[in-house]
């Protein structure tokens, strides 16, 4: 395969490599997506007076926050060669756990902490099932989606309830004009970039997902990596679940519905791949903002939500189709 041994070609090669890198940078997915985002924003701005105000931008970011946090966990799992469809139900379980504990008189902070820990446990269980029982992650987490949905309903006896408490609803507050969830967004982004792109474990995760057999031959413990990555994703599910419950100000077992579709769309738009080994925090961020901007603009244009659903589904298919062109894709 790599048998091109043409000595005079060495400088040529590096020049070709530089050109390839430039091309990747120019045409790389999140750059293209960024251009698409700018075009989309321009269009909405031309149609809506209100669109490009700092308040609306902050609103978009605020709605992006929960999606981004859970999408980052999803991205980690994809990079490591896994998949997690249970995120929505997981968030619901986290939210109702925290809410029910708070209603039962558990101190607020403790309730939230237990909520986050619940998320971590869910992630660990996902990882354990996938690595220990060798169940395909698609099915394992699809099954978990329903198990957790059932659990959320069981905890709440199938009823939604408002929680009218300002402390519980901290995610609705602003600090210095900036919505609280945006701070969580920033913290998650920084943490994830550090985790994924600067630590050895993060870099190894790409190897584990890209070629698990090679990683095993290089004496990496693939299963332990995957267990870890699902657990970290569970942490993100926990944080997102608490934020979502706080933002809703309610115990709502149904609150996790359809998150898979939105999150998967954002993450695939951002350049992560279903076959593992690829993805980035920044790509996912742009993907999330793109989806939320689309959502925000369409709703303000009074487009019906079902059209938004159709648009999102189409966008995801096209994103993956575009992404897979150069590699040949599904065969």
């Amino acid at each position: 395969m790599t048998a091109t041994a043409t000595p005079p070609g060495a400088p040529l090669d590096s020049r070709a490599q530089a050109a390839a890198r430039a091309r990747r940078l120019l045409l790389g997915q999140h750059v293209l997506l960024l251009i698409a985002l700018i075009l989309l924003g321009t269009y909405f701005t031309s149609r809506l007076d209100f669109f490009l105000t700092s308040q609306n931008v902050l609103t978009i970011l605020r709605f992006s926050a929960v999606t981004f946090i859970v999408a980052t966990g999803f991205t980690l799992v994809l990079i490591g060669g896994g998949l997690d469809l249970s995120i929505g139900s997981g968030m619901a379980v986290v939210g109702v756990t925290a809410g029910k504990l708070f209603q039962a008189g558990v101190p607020l902070v403790l309730a939230f902490v237990i909520g986050v820990v619940t998320g971590i446990v869910i992630g660990f269980v996902n990882g354990y099932i996938v690595t220990r029982f060798r169940i395909n992650p698609l099915i394992a987490t699809l099954a978990m989606l329903f198990v957790l949905l059932g659990v959320a309903f069981i905890i709440t006896d199938g009823r939604s309830q408002q929680i009218r408490d300002d402390g519980f609803r901290f995610a609705r507050e602003n600090v210095g004009g900036v919505p609280v969830p945006v701070f969580f967004l920033i913290a998650t982004a920084v943490l994830s970039v550090v985790l994924l792109h600067t630590t050895k474990a993060g870099r190894h995760l790409f190897a584990v997902g890209g070629n698990p057999d090679a990683a095993r031959q290089a004496a990496m413990n693939v299963d332990r990596f995957r267990l870890g990555m699902y657990t970290v994703a569970g942490l993100y599910t926990g944080i997102a679940g608490v934020l979502l419950a706080s933002d809703l100000g309610a115990v709502a077992p149904n609150s996790g519905r359809n998150w898979e579709l939105y999150v998967a769309t954002a993450v695939f738009l951002g350049g992560a791949s279903l076959t593992g080994g690829r993805g980035s925090v920044i790509g996912t961020f742009v993907g999330v903002v793109f989806v939320r901007t689309l959502d925000n603009g369409l709703v303000q244009l009074a487009v019906r939500p079902q059209i938004v659903l159709i648009t999102v589904g189409t966008a995801m298919i096209l994103a993956v189709a575009f992404d897979q062109r150069p590699k040949g894709g599904f065969r």
Binding site: I129, V130, F133, R134, I135, N136, P137, L138, I139, A140, L142, A143, M144, L145, F146, V147, L149, G150, V151, F153, I154, G158, P212, D213, V222, R257, N258, E260, L261, A264, T265, F268, L274, R304, P305, Q306, I307, V308, L309, I310, V312, G313, T314, M316, I317, V320, A321, Q324, R325, G328, G329, F330, R331
Partner: protein, 338 residues
């Protein structure tokens, strides 16, 4: 260059072990296991709920399971050919909604039914195009389609997006599935015939054989000049058509339906039934016999749990665990996810 494999590469012990495994998990023995599960369900539920064993209730169970059987038939072909089609629930919603709206608009029921099933063919064609031409993984393609078809159903419905938005019609021909034939619910009769036809199609025809071939080894299929892409497209179209047929039957039983008439958990039930029945996730294995048993296991379970007074959401948990168990067994057979 090539490592020379030592002679007599199968040590007797591992060969025996392998053979035992094959026996334990081979299709036929899995059928026996499923049969035993069904028997166990009957025993447990007839104790827990005295009404369970009555003829009326058993026929009701059949009526309630008919739609699942029809949709699972299509999913069996899809998954054997290597495509997990998770858009089936949305296709059902779309099909039922289109059919309902056409009757409400005053057109004959026959046209409504044709259009309803045609919508499934259309969705299948799009799924097939996306998978075969754009080379998108079928899971992602049908996940996108899940959103698209569901949204379209709401559009057709003219709906406010409110859950449970149900349009009724009194058209007798469209609502034919509400009736019984010689005391047996029509949907049950239809589903039995449908599954039987699916069985013959899968086990006796080229169409069925090639599903196994394409799902088992697509690149070998190309080497021996099978039209792999066209076949993949056909299985997705078939899956969509079956889902749409199921959607129509449901809609007919309800006397018309809206976008939100199909429970969101239906996809899970379909996938669970098919995988319980022995269809491997990676394609190439499985049978209609297994799928039928898987459907019965779940149909009886839902009915029995309801009769025994368990809330619906406990069923989510049990079904999710069953699915995991089914795939876990499959993983033991195939070595599983690595």
């Amino acid at each position: 260059m090539t490592a020379v494999v030592p002679e007599s590469s199968t040590s007797p012990a591992s060969g025996l072990q392998q053979r035992l495994r094959d026996l334990v998990f081979s299709g036929k023995l899995a059928w026996v296991t499923l049969g035993l599960v069904i028997v166990a369900e009957f025993v447990v539920f007839s104790i827990a709920a005295p009404r369970f064993l009555s003829t009326t209730n058993l026929l009701n169970t059949g009526r309630a399971t008919a739609v699942l059987m029809i949709v699972a038939t299509g999913a069996t072909f899809g998954l054997i050919s290597g495509a997990l089609d998770i858009s089936v629930g949305s296709v059902m919603a779309l099909s039922g909604t289109i059919g309902t709206q056409i009757v409400i608009a005053g057109y004959p029921a026959s046209l409504a039914i044709l259009a309803a099933i045609g919508s499934g063919v259309g969705v299948g064609l799009v799924n097939g195009f996306v998978v075969v031409k754009l080379r998108v993984n079928p899971l992602v393609a049908t996940l996108g389609m899940l959103g698209i078809a569901f949204g379209l159903a709401f559009v057709v419905d003219g709906g406010s997006g409110v859950a449970g938005n149900l349009r009724q019609t009194t058209d007798a021909a469209y609502g034919v599935m509400k009736n019984d034939l010689v005391g047996i619910p029509l949907p049950l009769i239809f589903a039995v015939l449908f599954a039987a036809a699916g069985w013959v199609l899968l086990s006796q025809t080229r169409f069925g054989l090639y599903a196994y071939a394409v799902g088992g080894n697509a690149s070998a299929g190309r080497s021996v000049a099978l039209p792999v892409d066209r076949l993949r497209m056909m299985y997705l179209v078939f899956s969509g058509a079956c889902a749409a047929t199921g959607g129509y039957v449901l809609s007919s039983m309800l006397g018309g339906s809206g976008a939100a008439s199909v429970p969101g958990t239906l996809v899970l039930t379909v996938v669970t039934a098919v995988i319980l029945g022995g269809v491997g996730l990676l394609g190439g294995t499985g049978s209609m016999g297994g799928t039928i048993l898987g459907v019965i296991v779940l149909g009886v379970l839902e009915n029995g749990m309801t009769l025994a007074g368990w809330p619906t959401f406990y069923q989510y948990v049990v079904e999710g665990l069953l699915l995991m168990l089914a795939v876990g067994l499959d993983a033991v057979r195939t070595g599983g996810y690595r």
